[in-house]
Symmetry: none
Subunit: 197 residues, 2 copies
DNA sequence: ATACTTACGAGTAACTTACGAGTAAATTAT
DNA sequence: ATAATTTACTCGTAAGTTACTCGTAAGTAT
């Protein structure tokens, strides 16, 4: 298990790589993480390589902006947990990174695994993976990950005459009406569905 | 992963070739990219050839045509066309490459766009993208891209008592029975579905 | 001759690596 | 309870390499 500081370090590299389509240089890491010395950056690199987390392409790189971990680290999104029909979101302790299409690999995106069949009429099946984007406000018609009083679920977001409604897309489930006292938090909005056969 | 400068170089060659229907000469590259020396251009060519990105073919006038090898393209797959319910596969003239998760980016994989709703009960919707793998023989239960007498379609593959059957997954469509004289070619097998919202 | 590609030598800035030393917190020893 | 030791990180700088650049000259096919 990585220390929080080391975790932050590798997260920075991943985010940078996804955004810029290349790994950062030592100097970029130094500035991005507010270190004052390249020695610190180098210390992390050496440590993480010892830990087997990252890998340098060649033994020695001289000038090489591309030394750290190459494609292994790019085009991946964190798989945060499982979101299911009505039960709470199951958040993974150790966040795993899984491959995703490059276009979706943005800093505020994450992935979840779907459990249950409440969205079956929208073609979202049990076991599918979804890419979601963190948002605060949803538009009517959006498919959102919403948590009500701490329980997260995947539903369609609508505004009815009596306030916010969360619609499943399966006739066996019923519409959830949000009361004043319910605490509704929009966690994210559906960006893509990926199903593996 | 290519360095940014090398990437820019191959992008230039690609763009030039697309626009002028021929690859650029060294001098054209030099001017186009504001290099002051042919040596620089040559250095890139040699490097990129070493990296397996481009290839030189003999032309006329001591000319060598440069061609970009598409195969190396990172984390992308060719989008070959549209496959629909019953009508023939619509093959694109110019093959476009689209982002795909790295795990699916294998030499024999390709992508298609789905038209129609014949597989709706399997959660494959109109407009979805599918990743398929070229195969010759299908297993019962596989979802396949099959062409019958030249017309390709996305269906489930089964073997019934009267021979091969292609099942749609929508009650409004009926099962296709393959006769002896029908020419059935399995083009590929469904690997993944990607839907963008 | 013309139009282009290849080859070679050398330079430079960008970048990585090595090394020595320091600090604050946690762990162990006394 | 206090002192000694380790652990996990941080800093600064100098030295080492390479990615990329240039200029020029020689080669090759029409």
């Amino acid at each position: 298990m990585l220390s929080p500081k080391k975790q932050k370090f590798v997260d920075y590299i991943k985010d940078f790589t996804n955004q810029n389509h290349r790994p950062p240089t030592f100097i970029e890491i130094m500035k991005g993480l507010n270190f004052k010395s390249l020695g610190t950056v180098n210390w992390y690199i050496v440590e993480l390589e010892k830990d087997g987390i990252i890998e340098r392409v060649k033994g020695f790189n001289g000038k090489r902006a591309l030394s750290i971990l190459e494609s292994h680290i790019a085009n991946q999104l964190p798989l945060l947990g499982v979101v299911s029909a009505g039960s709470p979101i199951d958040v993974f302790d150790t966040i795993e990174y899984v491959d995703a299409p490059e276009v979706y690999c943005k800093p505020n995106n994450f992935m979840l695994k779907v459990a249950g069949d409440s969205m079956i009429d929208d073609g979202i099946l049990d076991g599918d993976y979804i890419v979601a984007k963190k948002i605060q406000v949803a538009e009517p018609g959006d498919t959102v990950i919403a948590s009500i009083d701490g329980e997260a679920t995947l539903k369609r977001f609508y505004v009815g005459s009596n306030g916010i409604e969360l619609h499943p897309r399966n006739d066996n489930y019923s519409i959830i009406h949000i009361d004043e006292q319910d605490e509704l938090i929009i966690q994210g909005k559906l960006v893509a569905v990926i199903r593996e056969y």
